[in-house]
C-alpha cells in the first residue's frame, strides 16, 4: 500500500471521528431549558394535528353516547401515542432520514410502493374529512361551503407551498392555540369534576358492539399513519440529531399529553352536556350545534372554532407530508425550495390532494360520512403494516446505532401493534356483521 493510498484510506475514518466530535461540541453548548425549547415543535404539532375533524367527531360521539364511560381510554391512548411518536422521532434524530427513506432502504421498492400507495389514499381521505370539518364548522358561523372550502384550500395550499417546515412551524403552532377553546368550553359546561376524574382512572368495559366499535375508532383517530411520517420528516427538516433526542422525548411526551388533555376535555364537554339529554351526534359540527341550547352560545362557538382550527391545521400538513414521503421513497426531488420544473411530482401530489379533496367536499351530494369511514378502514389496515416497519427499523442496530429500541420499549411497541391489529380485526368483524 503506498503512502497515498494509506492516507486516502485513513481519511474517512478520521473525518468521521472529527465530524462526530464537531457535532458533539457544537451541540454541547446549548443545554438547559432553552435547548429543550428550541427542539420543541415536531412532536407537539404532530400530536395536535391528530385531534382533527375525525378525532373531534369520534370523541364527541363517545362523550355524547356513553358520557364519561370512555374517559378511561384517554390515559391509555396517551401511552400508545407516546410510544409511536417517540420511536418515530428517535429514528429521525438517529439517522437524519425520513421514515419513507428508511422503509425504502430497509425493505426495498415493493413494500415502499404498497406503503406509499396506501399512504396517499389514506391521507387523501383524511384530507377530505378535514375540509368537511372546516366546511361544517364555518357553516355554524354562517359561512357557506362554496366560500369556506375554496378559501381555506387556497390558504392551506399557499402555506404549504410557501416554505419548508421550519418556516411554517411557528404559524402552525400559533394556529394550534385554537385548541385552548376546548378546555374553555369544557369549563363553561360545568362538569362533575370528581366523577370525571374517577371515571378516568377506573376502566369500565362494556360488550356492546357499538361501544367497542367506538373504541376502535378512537384508536384509529388517535394513532394515524401520517403521524409516523410527519414527526420523522419534521425532525429531519429541523436537522435535529442524536444530542437532541432528550429534548425530542420531552417534546413528544408533552405533545401527546397536551393532545390527550384536549381529548379528555372534548369527551368531558359532550359527556356533561349531551349525554344526559340523550342527544346522539355523528360529527363534530352536530356536537357544536347541539351544545347551543344546553351549554350556551359561547361554548358552542368555541367548540366550532376549535373544529375549524384543528381541521385547518391538519389540512395544512397532510398534503406536504404525503408528497414528501412519496418523493423521498422514490428519490424524486422534493421540498418547497425547488421550482415546479425541478420537482414536478412533489408539487403535483401536493396540489392534487388539496384540489381534489376540496373539490370532493364541494361536490353536491357527496357522501362525506362514507369517505370518512373508508379512510378509517384504510388507516386500520395500513397502520399495523407501518408499525411493523417501524419496529423492525427501530430495533435494527445497524441503522439506529446505540439509539435502537430497548427491550422494554420494543415490548411496548409490540403491545401497541398487537392491540391495533386486534382492534382492527374486531372492527372488520363488526362491519361484516353489519353493526
Amino acid at each position: 500500500m503506498t503512502a497515498r493510498e494509506k492516507r486516502a484510506k485513513s481519511r474517512p475514518a478520521e473525518q468521521e471521528r472529527a465530524q462526530g466530535k464537531r457535532i458533539a461540541e457544537s451541540k454541547a453548548k446549548k443545554t438547559g431549558l432553552l435547548a429543550m425549547l428550541s427542539v420543541m415543535g415536531p412532536g407537539l404539532l404532530t400530536a395536535l394535528a391528530g385531534n382533527d375533524a375525525g378525532g373531534i367527531a369520534t370523541y364527541s360521539s363517545a362523550g355524547a353516547t356513553y358520557g364519561f364511560g370512555q374517559l378511561w381510554t384517554v390515559p391509555l391512548m396517551c401511552l400508545l401515542l407516546i410510544v409511536v411518536q417517540e420511536t418515530a422521532a428517535r429514528m429521525g434524530c438517529a439517522t437524519g432520514k425520513g421514515f419513507a427513506s428508511l422503509i425504502r432502504e430497509k425493505f426495498g421498492i415493493r413494500i415502499s410502493a404498497v406503503a406509499m400507495l396506501s399512504l396517499c389514499v389514506s391521507n387523501f381521505a383524511v384530507n377530505v374529512s378535514e375540509f368537511a370539518g372546516i366546511a361544517s364548522g364555518l357553516k355554524l358561523f354562517g359561512v357557506p361551503v362554496y366560500v369556506s372550502v375554496p378559501v381555506s384550500a387556497l390558504a392551506t395550499w399557499m402555506l404549504t407551498m410557501s416554505g419548508s417546515y421550519r418556516r411554517v412551524e411557528k404559524i402552525l403552532l400559533a394556529i394550534s392555540c385554537v385548541f385552548v377553546t376546548y378546555i374553555v368550553a369544557g369549563v363553561l359546561a360545568q362538569p362533575d369534576w370528581g366523577k370525571a376524574l374517577h371515571d378516568t382512572v377506573v376502566p369500565q368495559m362494556s360488550l356492546d358492539p357499538a361501544y367497542i366499535s367506538l373504541l376502535v375508532a378512537n384508536v384509529g383517530t388517535t394513532i394515524s399513519p401520517y403521524m409516523l411520517f410527519m414527526v420523522a420528516s419534521n425532525v429531519v427538516e429541523k436537522d435535529l440529531d442524536e444530542d437532541d433526542i432528550p429534548g425530542q422525548r420531552a417534546d413528544n411526551v408533552s405533545g401527546a399529553i397536551v393532545a390527550e388533555v384536549i381529548t379528555w376535555f372534548i369527551v368531558l364537554t359532550t359527556g356533561t352536556v349531551l349525554y344526559p339529554a340523550h342527544i346522539v351526534v355523528n360529527d363534530a359540527a352536530d356536537a357544536a350545534q347541539a351544545l347551543v341550547p344546553l351549554a350556551g352560545q359561547y361554548s358552542s362557538a368555541l367548540f366550532a372554532a376549535g373544529l375549524v382550527g384543528a381541521s385547518f391545521l391538519a389540512a395544512c400538513v397532510m398534503p406536504g407530508v404525503t408528497a414528501g414521503a412519496v418523493c423521498e421513497a422514490f428519490g424524486w426531488e422534493r421540498g418547497t425550495n425547488r421550482s415546479w420544473r425541478e420537482a414536478p411530482t412533489y408539487y403535483g401530489i401536493l396540489t392534487a390532494i388539496t384540489v381534489l379533496s376540496a373539490g370532493l367536499v364541494m361536490l353536491p351530494g357527496a357522501d362525506l360520512f362514507g369517505i370518512m369511514m373508508a379512510s378509517q378502514v384504510i388507516n386500520g389496515v395500513l397502520l399495523p403494516i407501518l408499525l411493523l416497519c417501524m419496529v423492525y427499523i427501530a430495533s435494527d442496530r445497524h441503522i439506529m446505532g446505540r439509539w435502537a429500541n430497548s427491550k422494554a420499549w420494543n415490548g411496548l411497541t409490540w403491545f401497541t401493534i398487537v392491540a391495533v391489529i386486534i382492534l382492527t380485526v374486531i372492527m372488520f368483524a363488526f362491519q361484516a356483521m353489519g353493526y
Partner: protein
Amino acid sequence: MIYLSQMLGNPVYDLNGEKIGKVNDLGIATGEVFPRVTSLAVEGPGKTPFMISWRKYVDSYDEHQVQLKVVATDIRFSYLQPDEVLIARDLLNKQIVDTRGMRVVRVNDLKLSDTSSSQLRLLGAEVGIRGILRTLSPRLERVVMRIAKSLGRTIPERIIAWNYMDLVERDLSNVKLSVSHKTLDELHPADVADILEKLDPRLRGQVFAQLDDEQAANAMAEFDDDAMAAEIVGGMEETDASRVLSEMDPDDAAELVSELDYEKAEKLLRLMGVKEQKAIRQLLGYKEDTAGRIMTSEFVQLSEDSTVADAVKAIRGLDEDFEAVHYVYLKDEEGRLSGVVSLRDLIDGETDTHLSDISYDDLVTSSPDDDQEDVAKDIAKYNLLAMPVVDDKRKLLGIVTVDDALDVMEEEHEEDLQIAGASTGDSDGSQHTHVLSWLLRNELWFFIWMLGVIIMGSIATGEHTLQHTLLLALALPVAIVSAGDAVTYVTNFYLEYDEDDEDAPSMLGFALQGLGLGILFSTIVLLVAWGINSVFFMRDATGGAYAVRGFTAASASILVSFLTTPIYLRVLRRRDERNKESSGTSLACISMLVALAVFVAVVLLSTHGMAI
C-alpha cells in the same frame, strides 16, 4: 444484459443440480469504469450467508438461476475485500449523487452486462421510473412500455455509470471510491454548492465535512442562499469554520460573516489568523452595498522603480489561493497609487524595464464609500478586470474584481425587476409562487375596485339607491388602473435615468410631462363618457347623470395620479440613496388607494353639491 432485480433471490445450483441457496448480493471490484462482478453472496439453508468467488465457481447465470461449475463440497468461501462493494447492500435503494447531471437520486435497480462468456460487469445504476416498475414486476414494466409505445412515446432508461456516481453516505457504507471516479471533489465548486443545496440538512453537513478546506471554502462562496451557507458555518465546529473562512477570499468571507449572529462571528474571527482576520474586519467596517464591502485586499502593489523581473517574481511568489492577478499596481514614495501595469504588458516587457515606463497613469479609481452599483458600471464602462479602491490620500485599499462586479449587476438587476413589479424580490428560488403572485399583483385593481364599491355602498344613504351607487362605481376601474399605470410610468423613468446623468430630463420636465399625460388621458375619458352618455342614454337622465358624475370623478382622480408622479420618483430615489429596497407593487398599491380616496371624495362633493 441482466438487472440485479432479476437476479436477487434466484436459486443457486451446484454441478450436481443440488440447490445450495439463493442469490443474496453481488460483490464488485471498484477500480474500473465498468466494475467486474467478483463475488457472489449466497443465502444458504437456515439463512446463513456466505460469499464465493464469481470467477472461480460460476458457470452460467440467467434470469431464473445461477449454475456453478463445481459440486457444493468443493466450494471455498471468500470474504469481502477492502476494495469490494456489495451492490445490493451498498447501492440498491440508496441515495447517490449523479455527478454528471448534478442531482441527488435514488438507485432503483442496477444494470449488469456480460462482456465475455463468464464475466459480468456493472454498467450502471438505473434511477428512472423503469427501474421502479421492473422491481415491482417485470410484467408491469412491459405493459407500461407497450402503452407508452402505443401513445408514441418511449420511456428511456436512466442509467448512471459507476464513474459518475458519488455515494452520499460514504461514512456509513465504508465504500471506497475508485481512482477513476469523478467525485464531488473534482466538480466545480458552483456545482458542488448546487448539489449540497439539494440534500437534507444532515447529509448536507456530512458531505460538506468530507470536502477539504479549499473545496469547502470555494463551495461556500458559491452558495446562492447566504442564509444556508451561514447555517452550515453555524453547525460546524468553530476551529473548522474559521479555517474554511480563512481559506475563502476575504470579500466572500466578509459577506458570510455578516450573516452570522454577532457572538458567533466574533468567536470565529478571533480564531482566524491575524492577517485574514484583519482583512475581513476591515471590509466589515464599510457600509453594506459599497465598494469597500465587496473589494478584496489581495492585490499586487510594487514601488515605481521596480522592474518587470521584480513584478514577475512577486507574482510567482504568491500563495495558490491568492485572488486572480490581472494587474500590478504601482505606488510612489508616499505610498500613493500612481499607475497600473497589465499582465500582458508584463509579458511583453523586457525583464529589466522599469514598471513606471510601461505603466498606465491615468487611472480610474473609486472610493470605499462609493455605491457598489456605480463601481460595477464603471468596470463595465472602462472594460476593466479590476477596479482599484483608494482612500482620501490615494492610498490603495483594495480592488473590486470583475466577478464581484458581475454579482453586483445581477443583484441590482433583480432589485430593478422588483421595482418594475416583475418579481416578488424573493430571490431564493421560490419560483412556484411567482405565477400566482404575478396574477394577484396584476389584478390588484379588481380588489381595490371592490373595496371602493363597498365603501361607496356603505356611505350611500337616503335617495342614493344601490343602482345609483353602482353607476357611480362604474367609472372607478379606469381611475384605479390609471393610478397603477402612473406608477409604471414613474418606475420606467426611474430605471431608465439615473439622477445624476447629464442627459436625464430634469424633475421639472418629468413633472410637466406627467401633467400633460394626465390632462390628456382624463380629457379623453371625460369626452368619451359624455359622448356615449349623450348618444345612447338620453332616456334615463338620472342614471346618465350618475354615470357621468362617476366618470368626472375618475378623470379628476387620473389627473391627481399623474400629478403626483414626481413625489413617487422622489421617494424611489431617496430610498435608493439610503440603500433600501423598494417594491413597485407596493407603490402601485399606495397610488391606487390614493386614487380611490380622490374618487370617493369627488363623488361625495359632487353629490352633496347637486340635488338630483
